[in-house]
Symmetry: C2
Subunit: 343 residues, 2 copies
């Protein structure tokens, strides 16, 4: 039916061995022979069977991403941008992406299945809920894996994270320098490490500026428009209404903007706003009104780099050299300004 190695070799009057070698770019093949083989393969539309190759070589030419179905952090729109980045690199290298659905209680089992099965050559641990056990077990197997996030420093595993602590430290310091003393933090879910890190950076900035953080200005939860709205509304209605907001995402900021407008306040005259910006094409910080000051880091670029690291690991590169923490840039736009002397 469909052209396979055997038939192709027969047509060429060569052995399967030689044809296989010619096709796979082995050096010991006569150049004229190789050309003949390549031409014939092209002409007959020969495509090697991935299943057979996989069985013979033990390599899958695929990257695995486990998709935990209930963990709504990953159902987050951000995930698609990250995936786009991973796909970009994978496509360039001829790798497929296996998105393996799983429930939370089976997550570890799914990783181990992928690792043992040979269904994929490497696994991307893409989730901010970094329970150490999961990472530790994957790392222990020595199976190529890359964490998007921050593993404990004693675990031998490739990883990429952004400097969440530094980002919100920078943002907090900037607001303090503008004279803000009451700054609300509209954070992501602080059970997740990225959000905890951001809080730590923000608190450090406050301390350095001599501001004692008041608990009523801390909010944490899923990064959604409605939480942004709810949190900002609560903050503004409280006993010490903030003059500035630091938001975990553009979506959160969108909700906050609305609450601020409803309170009759304007940005940046009455209230300053900074948001973390993962560079989602559908909600661009520079298209908001006013354009928003952000801590910026492309989550798509992170996907690109994580995939590159995964492929490097497959190629035999050890995890030690593959640990990166990206600095985050503060991009000052129109949503921030000096605090009004209402303190």
């Amino acid at each position: 039916m469909t052209m396979n190695l055997k038939e192709l070799s027969a047509k060429l009057g060569l052995s399967q061995t030689t044809v296989s070698r010619a096709l796979n770019g082995y050096p010991e093949v006569n150049e004229a022979t190789r050309q003949r083989v390549l031409a014939a393969a092209e002409r007959h539309g020969y495509r090697p069977s991935p299943a057979a190759r996989r069985l013979a070589t033990g390599r899958a030419q695929a990257l695995g991403i486990v998709f935990p179905m209930e963990r709504n952090v990953l159902l987050d729109p951000l995930f698609i941008e990250f995936l786009a980045g991973v796909c970009e690199v994978a496509g360039r290298h001829g790798f497929d992406i296996l998105v393996s659905p799983t429930t939370a209680d089976q997550e570890l089992a799914t990783y181990e299945r992928l690792a043992r099965d040979g269904t994929v050559d490497a696994v991307i641990l893409s989730s901010p809920g970094l329970e150490d056990e999961r990472i530790r077990r994957v790392a222990k197997r020595g199976f190529p894996a890359v964490v998007h996030g921050r593993p404990n420093s004693d675990v031998q595993i490739a990883s990429l994270d952004i400097d969440n602590e530094g980002a919100f430290h920078q943002a907090g310091r900037f607001l303090a320098q503008l004279g803000h003393r009451r700054i609300a933090l509209l954070n992501g879910d602080e059970k997740l490490s990225f959000a905890a890190d951001r809080r730590a950076g923000f608190v450090r900035a406050l301390r350095e500026a001599g501001i004692e953080p008041g608990d009523e200005l801390f909010f944490s939860g899923q990064m959604s428009v409605e939480n942004g709205y709810r949190f900002a509304r609560a903050a503004l209605a409280g006993p010490r209404p903030p003059t500035a907001f630091l938001c975990a995402s553009i979506l959160v900021a969108l909700g906050a903007q609305r609450a601020i407008a409803e309170s009759g306040l304007s940005i940046p005259d009455d209230v300053s706003v900074i948001a973390h910006d993962d560079e989602m094409p559908s909600f661009r910080a520079d298209h908001l009104h006013p354009p928003m000051t952000t801590t910026r880091s492309s989550i798509r670029a992170a996907g690109v780099r994580v995939a590159e690291m995964a492929i490097a690991r497959i190629g035999g590169q050890p995890p030690e050299g593959l640990r990166e923490v990206w600095p985050v840039e503060l991009v000052v736009r129109g949503s921030t300004g000096p605090a009004r002397g209402r303190d």
Copy 2:
């Protein structure tokens, strides 16, 4: 190294044939034998090699989704919800999901590769940019495939779409019944069929209500917050400011809300707003202020059903019976009200 069929059979003192049959639930195996085999497999942590099984059977136990990297419709946050639905079903049936990245010019080639390779057992054509050639070629191969969207009626292929025409007809009629005569359509990119269908439904509603659609109230483009803002602003600044907006998504409506507020108008007293709601957990229509009237259809449920259809196709069910168009519900909430007599 790792436990395989051969070793397991040796330990049991049985042939590979019998062990394989016991494991795969074939009826002709003695029940006692089966129990013994199952127990041993469990005890030794035996997992059959997917590559070997695939080579032997020709089935991959995987569903393919081609991910066109530039087509930003798919980079859309909606895609992740759709994918979540697909994953849910795939997981239940023991299928993996292969997300195959591709560039627009190689899209067809990627489908055909997946179809021929046996890398996947079925393909999900998940994109609103339904060029007929692509679908027609996939359909012609007879390879199991399901379209998320509306193929031409003469193409023999399984498909699921929502009734976009009916949805916006319903929404348009509802607004007209409330007395609105100047209604702005903030549509998605009308080169894509879902958006073209929505426009058609809306125009039909206008005609039926005796309203001649004024061109300056039609807007079309990527469904983003900023487009919602830009379009609504332009509409409100025009010579015939609308008293109602029909928006292609919650994101678009979010932008429109903001433009409306900036114009000093309030919802629903001055202006009514309806949006199409794909039920993204991060932007819930009922959590907006005021809660938004929507045409509602769960894109995640669509993912679920599309995956089920794909698996049915793999099971041999012919495409003829697998064509569904889901009705869309109009959910009336607080963002719509009677038109003020300003006309």
